[in-house]
Amino acid sequence: MDFAWSEEQLSYKESAIHFAQQELREGIIEDDLYEKFPKERWQKCAEFGVLGLPFPEKYGGAEADLLTTMLVMEGLGYGGKDNGLLFSINAQMWAVQHPIQEFGTIEQQEKYLPDLITGKIIGAHGISEPVSGSDAYSMHTSAKKCDGGYLLNGSKTFVTNAPIADLSLVFAMTAPEKGSWGISAFLIETGTAGFSLSKKIDKMGLRTAPMGEIILQDCFVPEENRLGAENIGAHIFNNSMEWERACILGAHIGAMERQLETSVSYARTRKQFKQPIGKFQSISNRLAEMKIRLETARLLLYKTAWLKNEGKPAKMEAAMAKLYLSEVFTASSLDAIRIHGGYGYTSEFEVERDMRDAIGGVLYSGTSDIQRNIIARYLGV
């Protein structure tokens, strides 16, 4: 790893913090409680330039490098408090926009990227099915070739953004006999006949990020809406997962820093047994662990982003970053609750929500077990 932050990169982070402090802090308790998607905050993020950050200027992006993009995510996670919204946004950026940019035709890019970037439309990415999760390629959804396109049948579940999506990137079997070499990717607009979105799935955390199911019943998708060549779906999926694993948790680094600052200030002011609780080693040791987790996670994230920026392979690093960031965010969130005692358990203090949000991270984009499998595979076991 060989870089130092430039003044310009730091100014990106600073304006992200400034923006998030003003726009992404209020009303989260209620939105979390009622599982409300914060459309207004999404729109503000789009106008602020988050969704287009690393994307081409011609599509409304800012062409920022990946390290700058990660710094901005960190700033948003630090300045704001809506982990769910940032997760939703990142899911669209890395698992919808990015594959379109990398594998889409010029027509597909021109049609969808500008609208995704300005917030006019929202995108979802569906691969998981009721019976195929970690073993994603054992999917049942099929796409049968027909005149001018494909007929899709099947269902997708756990799909982030599905209840509010205008566009879904869906994977289906075009050649089931070929296994993972027989999967293709399709871009389907909401409103297409035979395509429906179920009501949202109620869940533990990331409650401002709506999740739902996609149902496909003889859904006709024209040939021009296939993303990439036929049967390269697994390649597209792997590629987008590498990006997603590398980047989706960037905002959590900022959240961990915010959480640490809150915990330190609580430890200095809350008194028990006539002294600030921070004077007890049980508390200060926990704070020290939280700091070490934060800084090590940062380095892993930056290293992965730097490798990808340089165009170097980073599959193993992405898996390590995904695994480590999600696990330490979970561990530190629990520590933050312990430090805050009973107050940390109440929703008013906004400490417990991080814990619920953090747990999603050890599951989506491949569970921690699956990340370990990937790391082991690259180690040659």
Partner: protein, 249 residues
């Protein structure tokens, strides 16, 4: 109408100030610097005047060493059209700054100069007034509202007894107070765009102004730490303590 906004780079207001070990000043090495908050408000006011079609150009100017370019770039990203850096490593004090700004005004011919009412580092609260005097222009300090009509500007000032509304003819100098506006955040693509906006660097000597410091700093120290107070049980105890211990009554 052209507006000139003077901005100063100061230690960020979130930073806990550290005094240098030799008591010659405060530590600025490795410390986060930002635009002086009152100047940011001045810049926001100027940008809003431009957006409403009243101002045609917003120029930002700052005085100091090269690194303050970063602050000027932020000002450009916020919405200023171009920036001017007057470079000097001399410690610039209010009168010197006012004289340099006077020279810039002579070159640029703005109709309005906006400044923060004070900088949060030395809290001098003098530059705007000195500049107005040097230029022989009207001044409206501590503005909490600015209304421009034709060649007049109406300034609402926050003073001890309430609000004072004054009317100035242009050109004029206005310094801004906290409640004038809430500065916008910089949108991300604007940071990239700001790189393409002109930033001119001028050596202070070129302006032919005497900027020799006139004030001498003897010593910089942290204020004494306030002793923790005590709680008294009742009024009688309070009165006794004020009489016998504090000896104030």
């Amino acid at each position: 109408m052209k507006i000139l906004v003077a901005i100063k780079q100061v230690i960020d207001h979130h930073v806990a100030i550290q005094v240098k070990l030799d008591n010659t000043g405060v530590e600025t090495n490795n410390v986060k610097m930002s635009i002086n908050p009152f100047d940011e408000i001045a810049l926001e006011a100027a940008i809003r005047l431009q957006e409403s079609g009243i101002a045609s150009e917003v120029i930002v100017v700052s005085i100091g060493e090269k690194p303050i370019q970063t602050t000027l770039r932020s000002a450009l990203a916020m919405g200023a059209d171009r920036a001017l850096l007057i470079q000097t490593d001399v410690e610039t004090q209010p009168l010197a700054v006012a004289k340099l700004l006077q020279a810039v005004v002579a070159q640029e011919n703005p109709q309005l100069v906006l400044l923060g009412k004070q900088a949060i580092d030395d809290d001098s609260h003098q530059t705007g007034q000195m500049l107005a005097a040097l230029l022989n222009w009207g001044q409206g300090t501590n503005a909490s509202q600015i209304i421009l009509k034709d060649d007049e500007v109406q300034v609402t000032r926050e003073i001890d007894t309430g609000l004072e509304i004054i009317s100035l003819s242009l050109p004029a100098v206005i310094t801004t107070d906290l409640r004038l506006n809430n500065p916008r955040y910089i949108k991300l693509p604007n940071i990239m765009k700001a790189k393409k906006k002109p930033l001119t660097i001028l050596a202070a000597e070129e302006l032919d102004v005497d900027i020799t410091p006139r004030l001498q700093t003897c010593k910089v120290e942290l204020p004494l730490r306030r002793k923790t107070g005590i709680k008294v049980e009742n009024i009688n105890e309070l009165i006794t303590k004020l009489q016998t211990e504090a000896k104030v009554i």
